[in-house]
Symmetry: C2
Subunit: 300 residues, 2 copies
């Protein structure tokens, strides 16, 4: 299959573009003003040997390529709408393998009703897949990292740590949860945990110019987490991390458990006045000598 055969095959897989849109096939795609809502846009790439290994099924790698992008849209409280996909394909990736990878992408796209509206393909020595995803902002506006206030509670969805064992391929992007939060709770800050809780919480602290106190014994550890350090810094959890005023917290858990009976929501600490740093506590007592390993970084 040459480049144009692939575009045709992908176009068929993608199905017809939503009414009024122009999808794959011209020099660019066209989206009609997204119902006049603000546009949320993000991009994330996966590289073979970095983000997935040769032992994983191509469908799972394809799934991950889209899932990490869906997670970024969820982290704004937004609704994912469409995506573009660029593939770099080495000669070792035969037709069947590439088709299976793309099927993994489209399987998840179907679940989340996001439409593929464009892309690019290139030959490469090492496989990569870069996806750009578009979403529409929630009615009350997107939720950024910068709105947290001293006194706000810090909460996290699901369990953390040990994602490398399985979850980083199979995680459920918290899209419904993000949209529900934007609609019902309006967190003061929201992001997804991709580089490890400790490192990602620091992003909220820097953006919001606050400190935080984190209760180590309240951090929800995955059964694949080796220890608390694993839950704090393994990365690729793709859970939602948020802050919210105590006032909004009253009654939230009951409503949450009704909406998401299979996803936990755990209060793990509180925002404090001060420069961006985390005070770690165990059962309420500050652990002055507690040190967290670094979260994931490229080129570290």
């Amino acid at each position: 299959m040459n480049e144009f055969d692939w575009i045709e095959w992908i176009n068929k897989k993608a199905g017809p573009a939503p009414k009024g849109w122009i999808g794959i096939g011209d020099d660019a795609a066209v989206i009609p003003g997204l119902l006049k809502k603000d546009i949320v846009i993000s991009t994330d790439a996966i590289v073979e040997g970095v983000d997935f290994d040769q032992f994983v099924r191509p469908e799972q790698a394809g799934r991950k390529a889209l899932a990490i992008n869906l997670s970024d849209i969820a982290a704004m409280g937004a609704r994912p709408e469409a995506f573009l996909m660029t593939l770099g394909v080495p000669p070792s990736w035969k037709k069947n393998k590439l088709q299976r990878f793309i099927c993994g992408v489209f399987q998840l796209a179907k679940e989340y009703r996001v439409h593929c509206i464009g892309g690019d393909m290139s030959s490469a020595q090492q496989f990569f897949c870069s996806i750009t995803i578009l979403g529409s902002a929630p009615q009350k506006g997107v939720i950024l990292r910068e709105g947290a206030k001293p006194g706000d509670l810090i909460l996290v969805t699901g369990d953390l740590g040990g994602s490398i064992r399985k979850k980083h391929y199979a995680f459920t992007p918290r899209v419904k949860e993000g949209m529900w939060l934007a609609q019902n709770v309006m967190p003061s800050a929201l992001m997804d945990v991709s580089d490890g809780l400790a490192q990602d919480l620091m992003h909220i602290l820097k953006a919001s110019r606050c400190a935080a106190r984190l209760e180590l014994n309240q951090v929800p550890m995955s059964k694949d987490a080796i220890n608390i350090h694993s839950a704090l810094s393994d990365g690729e959890d793709f859970e939602l991390l948020m802050t919210m005023s105590r006032r909004n917290y009253a009654g939230l858990l009951r409503k949450w458990n009704r909406a998401f009976p299979h996803v936990s929501l755990t209060s793990i600490g509180v925002m404090m006045k001060g420069s961006p740093q985390i005070e770690y506590c165990f059962e309420g007592i500050a652990q002055k000598n507690f040190k967290v390993g670094p979260g994931f970084q490229h080129f570290s």
Copy 2:
């Protein structure tokens, strides 16, 4: 420099986002409804060793990464507004080289007033840069490949062929020209010539369900083109290829030359009834045995 140092460095280079926008730094960027215009979006990647070689200055490679994307927006008659950039960086790309590449991107971004609003960075074995570009549709709507009618003239900007010698790094994306055409002429079909004139014209013929007669002696050959085959199929010309009704053509050249004194606009043929194929003519006489080599394809 680690990943976050790079993001900060790039953020500084990018400068503040336009008013009301959210740029680099959160989980996603936010664009406020683009003045209620339709959104045009496209993506294109370059890979080291495929789209540029090790002899080129990194600035020129960076320039090309954005220029090919600007050309896609030009090919819709749209105005480029913003872009996202994903980088895959091998260990051999030291700090200085990567900075020079990024400076090449931002130099051109400044010229065309497009703002970098996001991106991603990954380690990789081979350098790649995938850019997604957003534009706003022209007032009268985008110009697709599918609107050409039998009898329409076929025109091309600039000169074709031999781009590999220099032009593919240094070409001027025809953004102003595309916007001008959408405003003043409303071509019936428009695209950019990236895979070679013969192959790209076929895209218009297929989309518009027409045939074409091409006058070989009228095809504007670049001084770097070896022969007519080179002008028809070398690729990476990044000129605009368009069709338009004869009625609109009257008086166009005078207006064009006033608006773009340094860019030629050449009539090279005419659209015909029939299934998608090109009849090659020389001084009006059909050349039945004339064969064109294939244009550029990945995985061909």
